[in-house]
Symmetry: C2
Subunit: 275 residues, 2 copies
């Protein structure tokens, strides 16, 4: 049996990120699905909108749009209704409800969420901060950081730092290696801002073996040795105890899940998803 | 007049990222709105779902949910209907339509989009790649990169690299400074993978002046001098011409917009939003 093909059209007068996220989340609920995505983003001309709609009709595609222009919304919704196309107008329900409640009119500016405002520049600063103070490169950054992540190799410090940076948080991270000296800044800072990451030794063993293979080396090195890993983790836990910091075991957690726990622990959840 | 307060509840059995994105995009269409967000994420118990719904009712909140469990969806939707609460069930329309068309049942696994599969690990690899090969740190990375970004200081190379990494693309970047030597790897790689970033001199002048002020220095340094900037930009353009690479002027573009153009130019748009 051949796979069933489903066409999904993302149409937006901005980057279409919200619609893409929704499509991703929905599609991930299926296996053996042959999905074709088409993105018609930054739509600013009526003609390109109509072309996209006609193309979608030809393919009997599912349409998800995040149009904000009143004219474009009407064109898309009317076209889909007249032609019996599946259409999700993502922004209208919430925007209309907010306006009804508050009697404030929406600006209807495409891409307002990406407007080059102070928050946007703060986010860029946070991303640059994460890169600059990744991997213990400069412990002086700890004192300016909102969060400092500690962990032995392969406890997802770097991707977690970047993910949190996207929430406008300044994050530095330090890899823990037994015998290496601990930067004095770690003892000078508020331990409530420190997160100690840990993992199960078996999982680290597997991840590190894979990493060695990817480098074309034998999987069984000192780096991936389970006794060595246990020693590293014990060393890390001992440091976490001394610092009195929060500890999170990232085994089986995705970056998104770990980030959510970090934000909960630090009571920064007002940042989460709205940064 | 006091600001009108609107409460928005994000409820999810996963991280709630899709609902957060939608709320962000909608709220950004308003000024002078006093929004309170509440996140009830990773809901795994009926009790915590009911508690969240009751709290939302007390506050007459707008509810956006991305629940995938059939039981939880029914509880949330029924509760909202019975109590006259505004409720957006984000996943159901698309998931139901896909199932109707394909006769395939959804897995209904919370957080399937974050499952620790190969694609997830590829994304982590891409993020680590971006950090490792940021700022010209190691030009050997150019030969393994999907994209190499070039640009003078403050043309958003770092955040753009990280944003593209989130789409599973391996991105390296190189700051351009007249007189500095150009790494030989740049001439050895496929110029179709190189993107030259540029900006308007007036904008760079303003950004760099702000940066100097942030460092507590005089805004008028050689770094922010307009003649100096024009010289740098001319040098960059000359290099782009020699390489025959794509050039993007990032003036007035957000990172998301620039990323969208990069993906279009490189015909990588199937990655976009679904990576």
């Amino acid at each position: 049996m051949t796979k069933t093909n489903v066409n999904i059209f993302i149409i937006s007068d901005s980057a279409g990120e919200t619609a893409s996220k929704l499509a991703q989340a929905s599609v991930s609920q299926y296996e053996d699905l042959d999905i074709t995505f088409t993105h018609q983003t930054f739509v600013s001309e009526k003609e390109s909108l109509l072309q996209a709609l006609e193309k979608a009709k030809e393919l009997n595609a599912l349409i998800i749009h995040t149009l904000i222009s009143k004219e474009f919304i009407a064109i898309a919704n009317d076209y889909c209704q007249e032609n019996g196309l599946f259409c999700m107008d993502l922004l209208s329900p919430l925007v209309n409800e907010i306006s009804n409640r508050t009697s404030i009119e929406p600006k209807r500016i495409a891409g307002a969420v990406h407007s080059l405002n102070q928050e946007y520049f703060n986010r860029i600063t946070a991303m640059e901060f994460a890169v600059k103070y990744d991997d213990g490169k400069d412990p002086k950054g700890f004192l300016d950081a909102d969060i400092v992540l500690l962990g032995v190799s392969r406890t997802s410090k770097t991707p977690l730092s970047l993910f949190l940076a996207n929430k406008n948080l300044k994050v530095a991270n330090l890899p823990l290696v037994p015998q290496a000296s601990i930067p004095k800044e770690l003892w000078e800072m508020d331990p409530a801002k420190i997160i100690g990451l840990t993992n199960n030794p078996e999982i680290l063993n597997k991840i590190r073996q894979e990493r060695m293979k990817a480098y074309g080396l034998s999987p069984d090195t000192a780096y991936s040795n389970i006794d060595k890993i246990q020693e590293e983790l014990a060393y890390a836990q001992d440091l976490y105890d001394k610092l009195g910091c929060i500890v999170i075991n990232v085994a089986d957690l995705s970056i998104e899940e770990t980030a959510s726990i970090v934000l909960d622990e630090l009571n920064l959840n007002s940042h989460f998803g709205v940064g």
